[in-house]
């Protein structure tokens, strides 16, 4: 029998393996070292993440594992074709790891302050990272499912990390049920795809072409739509959005930051990859759905926060709107000439958007996490009054993220929207572009309200003075500064990143 375990496979899945080893090491050390410190767990996590980031960026010299910067990797497959490695996947892995590293820095400080810091948190973060990369890089639907579960389960636990609060438990339960139902439907979809094509391997599903009225074709179509639907629950677009506000609001804010960024990055990366394995004529039906979902999300996500007073809910609803913008990039897979030539454009526009969106979201929720203190955790607009005097740095960070979300140039969010608009207009989706612009204009109102509340003078601004601690901690400071600088400065290099991602996007498979 052929040796099914090859060392080559471990090299090609190096980032995931490093993260999982780090997590297992923490688990092991907790058992065998009696005086195990949280700090040690933190550093193990940090080193694992940095090592993964390094390998994803520069590759492992002398092996088939190419990095982002070491040329244009055509990559390869590992574990009998279950995992895929190429430039596109490396881009998303990089993004996941970057987001996770920034969140790690925030979690260290915030959880220490809220007395929630336990070694397990770091272990879960590593599982999330590994699972997300597995999701993006899976070449088999079952592997993708396992990756998704691996990254979801820690989130259910982390959402309830602040056990004392009823809302946290509520958030965890809601997230667990809705997310699981989504995944269950996805599993059903995988079964149907298997029934239709006889394989769960993506590259084997695709070449099988059926007549449009055959039973297999119908099975396949139903299967794919269920799979996409499962992912849309993760991306949180209308009508799969029911859980978003309560879960984002209830979970600890740093965990919300991770939820809103990492889950979406991996889901978007995975969906964009698997879309190309669908039968070409199914895309026409799917596109109709996507347009409806996108428009609904944009409208709902920008209208719902208008009368919200809770800051986390404002950002939660607005994340639905951004999900709506994001999924418009899923429409370039039908086999018309225009769509094909625009696919790489759409891919890199999507990549840049999700990059800016993730950084901005992390910045927003992490700053909110910092401002929360004491028993009452809900941060409202009233708490923002006078923020620029009591805590200028936090006011600045919150304003940067709000302005970037609103799409004020030269912040990164503007260039993200610009690329999306460019692709939509060149594809001839004028009405979608108009809906996007008009709804985001509505959204400017509540984003700019955050800036104004933070900087204006109010007569009753001292009423809430006890709530806002100063920004503390070297890790949180550095993470905040790095993220803010990225959000401020990425716009100036937007085109380089766009072109850089385009090179990789030509090899999505």
């Amino acid at each position: 029998m052929e040796n099914i375990f090859k060392f080559q496979d471990l090299i090609l899945s190096a980032p995931q393996m490093i993260l999982i080893s780090g997590a297992l090491l923490i688990l092991l050390l907790q058992v065998i070292l009696p005086g195990f410190r949280k700090l040690l767990a933190f550093y193990i996590t940090l080193i694992s993440l940095f090592a993964s980031l390094y390998f994803v960026t520069f590759g492992i010299p002398g092996t088939a594992f190419y990095g982002l910067l070491s040329g244009n990797p055509e990559g390869g497959t590992a574990f009998q074709g279950n995992l895929r490695l190429n430039g596109y996947i490396q881009h998303y892995s990089f993004l996941i790891l970057l987001a996770l590293t920034i969140i790690l820095f925030f979690i260290k400080r915030v959880f220490a302050e809220q007395k929630l810091e336990l070694a397990e948190v770091y272990q879960f973060l590593l599982y999330i990272g590994a699972g997300s990369i597995f999701t993006v890089s899976a070449n088999d639907l079952m592997t993708m499912y396992i990756g998704l579960e691996l990254s979801s389960l820690p989130f259910f636990i982390l959402a309830a990390w602040d056990r004392g609060r009823a809302t946290a438990t509520e958030a965890a339960v809601k997230y667990f049920f809705l997310s699981t139902i989504g995944i269950a439907f996805m599993l059903l979809g995988i079964a149907l795809v298997y029934g239709g094509s006889g394989s769960t391997m993506l590259s084997e599903v695709f070449p099988v072409v059926f007549a449009e009225d055959s039973f297999s074709y119908k099975l396949l179509a139903a299967g794919w739509f269920l799979i996409i639907g499962g992912f849309l629950v993760k991306i949180a677009v209308v009508p799969f959005h029911g859980w978003v506000a309560d879960v984002y609001d209830g979970a600890p804010s740093v965990i919300t930051a991770a939820m809103a960024s990492i889950v979406k990055i991996s889901a978007v990366g995975a969906v964009f990859r698997i879309l190309q394995f669908m039968q070409p004529d199914m895309h026409m039906i799917l596109n109709t759905g996507i347009i409806i979902f996108a428009v609904a999300s944009m409208v709902y996500g920008n209208m719902a926060p208008l009368n919200q007073n809770n800051l986390k809910r404002v950002f939660a609803y607005s994340s639905i709107a951004h999900a709506g913008y994001i999924i418009t990039m899923f429409m370039f897979f039908p086999e018309s000439f225009k769509a094909i030539s625009l696919r790489t454009e759409a891919s890199s526009a999507l990549y840049f958007y999700i990059l800016t969106y993730a950084l901005t979201t992390i910045l927003a929720f992490a700053t909110i996490a910092y401002l929360e203190n004491g028993e009452e955790r809900g941060l409202t607009f009233d708490h923002l009054k006078g923020l620029s005097k009591k805590n200028p740095f936090a006011a600045f960070l919150l304003s940067v993220s709000a302005l970037s979300f609103a799409g004020i140039p030269p912040l990164a969010g503007f260039f993200g929207k610009l690329f999306l608009l460019k692709v939509l207009l060149s594809a001839g989706y004028y009405y979608l572009a108009v809906v996007m612009i008009v709804t985001s204009l509505v959204g400017v109102y509540f984003y700019i309200r955050i800036v104004f509340y933070a900087y204006w003078d109010f007569e009753d601004e001292n009423a809430t003075s006890g709530m806002l601690p100063p920004f503390r901690g070297i890790f949180a400071w550095s993470a905040a500064i790095v993220t803010a600088v990225l959000v401020l400065g990425l716009g100036f290099y937007s085109e380089s990143i766009f072109n850089f991602a385009r090179v990789a996007s030509e090899l999505i498979q």
Partner: protein
């Protein structure tokens, strides 16, 4: 030099930010204004001014091309580059901006000092200077950007410091005014964004080049005329809101009355010009066919603004509101002149853009001077100010006459050229617009009479401090006064360097059935440029 004039205010803003100084949040704290902070800000803006003057000295007025290219960031792609350059259309407004800002900054300090004497401390000085410096950098960036996207970046970012200026240091109703200002102008800019992206897409076959200088002007003219018209509307709506032209003018009076004095100076002096600059830079040259087709409509828009704005100004009882509505009226002249499209009218419009910046800037500053002393702007409470403060009355009179358009002041040349050009294009609209001159004289002179003559009003009689202008304030008016008379007698100072650029924009041939009078060298009566 161009880059320096953008970077100097930004660097100064950072220096102000890290300057060791305690922030003061309360008006009654007895805190003195910090001169060091102001000095840093002033030096930053003065460097920008010197840089702009040096750049202007090497500007070639004979050429209509973009000049003095400077690459800020290394070009990283074709679509979005950070190249700055000037041509005739931008150089005058660029200089106006760099000259107005140091004056505004020093005036604010003078105003802080006057207020501090009365026990009103300046609040949040650092943020104040930072906002002003950011505003300066972004306004300069708008005029210098040679790339559509860069242009839009500066165009948008400018709203934030301006909104902060109004929202934090403004009057009692500042929150409403800020929201209105922001939402209104942001909605306008979104139209611009749509138009820009649609324009890029429409000329997609020529590559994704956003450069204003090369690709756009050549390619846009080849677009089919119905597309030109759609794009024209997207652009012009944004500019009309910014100007603000007649149906969109309602945000301006609120923003002006609530803004701090320096905010009003900058808003009237520079920010309103961005709209008309956009028309000159984009609307007319990019879509000449559409501009020609709609020229009559927009001449009407301008003419209505002239008369309607003047009527509204006539009935105001608030000093600042009156001048704000007079701005609506004056901007109406500029819009009308631009769409009249003859050489005279466009030259007049350009000159009037500069003039309005100078004159209205001075008027708002003078209103600020008197407001700092009596803390009211209600015209009914004034009266007899000429006896109390003759120097102030004299300077205000000069500003008033310049605003009215007395021959010998700058206002006359601009208005005359515009009206002349409008008559060349359309007699009826010209005739209606001329009535605006009369109304203008009526409301301004009535204002002057009400404030300076007659029995001393309530506010004047009970003023707690000396109503005399102090030496700082007198010094600050000097540049304005010099420019008012200099441009009044020698408009060529502005017009000769920009003539070549403006000729490219002119889209209506002069009707030769009557002979247009010659006004110096400013009016090229022959259709082509007179290079000497």
């Amino acid at each position: 030099m161009l880059t320096l004039s953008i970077l100097a205010p930004l660097v100064a803003a950072i220096l102000v930010w890290i300057f060791p100084s305690r922030n003061n949040y309360r008006e009654d704290s007895g805190h003195k204004p910090n001169g060091w902070l102001m000095n840093v800000a002033l030096i930053g803006s003065l460097i920008a001014m010197v840089a702009s003057l040096l750049a202007a000295s090497s500007f070639n007025g004979q050429s209509a091309e973009f000049q003095l290219h400077e690459v800020w960031f290394p070009a990283e792609g074709k679509a979005i580059n950070w190249i700055f350059s000037v041509d005739g259309i931008s150089i005058g407004l660029y200089l106006l901006t760099t000259i107005l800002f140091p004056i505004g900054i020093y005036y604010s300090y003078a105003s802080f000092l006057v207020n501090a004497k009365q026990g009103i401390s300046p609040r949040r000085e650092k943020l104040f200077w930072i906002s002003l410096l950011f505003l300066e950098a972004s306004v300069i960036g708008v005029f210098l950007a040679q790339n559509l996207i860069t242009f839009y970046v500066f165009w948008e970012i400018m709203l934030v410091p301006m909104a902060l200026l109004i929202g934090i240091w403004g009057g009692s109703d500042r929150k409403y005014a800020t929201i209105k200002f922001f939402i209104y102008t942001f909605a306008g800019s979104v139209f611009l964004l749509v138009g820009m992206i649609a324009l890029i897409y429409a000329q997609w076959s020529n590559g994704t080049n956003f450069d204003i200088g090369f690709a756009l002007y050549q390619n846009a003219a080849q677009l089919p005329s119905h597309i030109q018209r759609y794009l024209f509307w997207a652009f012009i709506l944004s500019f009309l809101i910014k100007i603000p032209a007649f149906p969109f003018h309602t945000w301006l009076p609120h923003a002006h009355t609530q803004a701090p004095t320096v905010g009003s100076i900058i808003l009237a002096g520079v920010l309103l010009k961005l709209g008309t600059y956009g028309i000159l830079r984009f609307s007319i040259p990019l879509f000449p066919e559409a501009a020609n087709a709609y020229s009559e409509l927009f001449m009407w828009v301008g003419a209505v603004a002239i008369v309607y704005g003047a009527w509204l100004a006539w009935s105001q009882d608030d000093l600042k509101k009156l001048i704000a509505y007079s701005s609506v009226s004056h901007m109406g002249y500029i819009v009308m002149g631009m769409f009249a499209g003859t050489a005279n009218a466009i030259a007049g419009s350009y000159l009037q853009m500069i003039n309005h910046g100078i004159t209205t800037g001075l008027l708002f500053m003078l209103v600020g001077v008197v407001y700092d002393r009596v803390h009211t702007r209600d015209i009914a409470k004034f009266g007899g100010l000429a006896q109390k403060s003759p120097v102030f009355a004299t300077i205000f009179l000069i500003a008033t006459l310049s605003s009215v358009g007395l021959p010998g002041t700058n206002g006359f040349v601009g208005e005359f050229l515009i009206l002349l050009g409008t008559f060349e294009a359309n007699m009826l609209i010209g005739a209606i617009a001329v009535t605006g001159v009369i109304f203008g004289a009526v409301y301004m002179l009535q204002l002057y009479k009400a404030v300076f003559f007659g029995e001393p009003g309530e506010a004047i009689a009970h003023a707690k401090v000396s109503l005399h202008m102090n030496s700082r304030e007198i010094l600050l008016t000097v540049p304005f006064l010099v420019l008012i008379f200099w441009l009044g007698f020698k408009p060529d100072l502005v017009l000769s360097p920009v003539r070549a650029s403006l000729e490219k924009i002119q889209f209506r041939e002069i009707d030769r059935s009557f002979v247009a009078p010659k006004i110096g060298k400013a009016v090229p009566v022959e259709g082509h440029a007179e290079h000497h």
